[in-house]
Chain length 146, copies 2
Amino acid sequence: MTTTADYERMLREAALRVTRPRVAVLSAVHENAHADTDSIIGLVRQGLPKVSHQAVYDVLRALTVAGLVRRIQPMGSVARYEARVGDNHHHVVCRSCGEIHDVDCSVGAAPCLTASDTHGFVIDEAEVIYWGFCASCAPESAEEPH
Amino acid sequence: MTTTADYERMLREAALRVTRPRVAVLSAVHENAHADTDSIIGLVRQGLPKVSHQAVYDVLRALTVAGLVRRIQPMGSVARYEARVGDNHHHVVCRSCGEIHDVDCSVGAAPCLTASDTHGFVIDEAEVIYWGFCASCAPESAEEPH
DNA sequence: ATCCTGACTTGATTAGTTCAAGAAAATGCG
DNA sequence: CGCATTTTCTTGAACTAATCAAGTCAGGAT
């Protein structure tokens, strides 16, 4: 289990000041994968009722810049954050309810990181989003071709 | 070259009424890949100065639903539209200037469409976004590790 | 040509996020 | 430990992209 002290250490190692809003946000993101900003605000306020929404926005940005959390934003969705960073995993998103789950890269390490024609771009990351319907939202006749 | 008559036919084949705003939007998306809504409004108004922004929003949604255009929205960016539909191509996005280019799927047909663990999801599409820096934005020392 | 339905215009409204100025708190130093 | 410096947080407003609603207008069928 991750304790408050662990979060404080993570912040310190990232050269960020340790404040209660930051610990609370970091904790919320760790314990609630793929939470959107609004949920995070709610979670943080369970422990610290007085934090402003900008504090949360600021903290999320600081944590994102520091690499402690990762911001994901499938289209049609608001910004969401997750604590798994640096392991090149991807996401499966439900078209209906927006639910997100992690999936590891299918073909090994990072095979998708080779585009056929990069147009002169220096590519550093390949983001994969699998779109579909989750178990609850999939119609029973999902496997029918039409 | 694609003419107005072609766009009208495309609309008719999609069971959409042929209106000048629709032709103008369809034309704008075809001639300006990855344009955002605001640019499209500007382009449309070059020919039809009086179209409202809602008309453009409405038309873009109708065209998207009809499958004539595709909506893409890398995170941090507003909605963009492109006319290449149904060929499973992906995108490379510049982290700095937001420029977008098409890339064909690297490993053949649609290999990325196999996630390792689908969490019970019925997946119908794998969207790949390659992140990096375009030729203009890439620093000279881009290949240096640090 | 006329009617009916769907599309467009106008204007207001929302949600999500950001900006700005001042107050508060965290770190470093004496 | 207490103070100074610097960053962070609070308060409140503003901004942007997008949507909603009501009424007018135009495309396509009869």
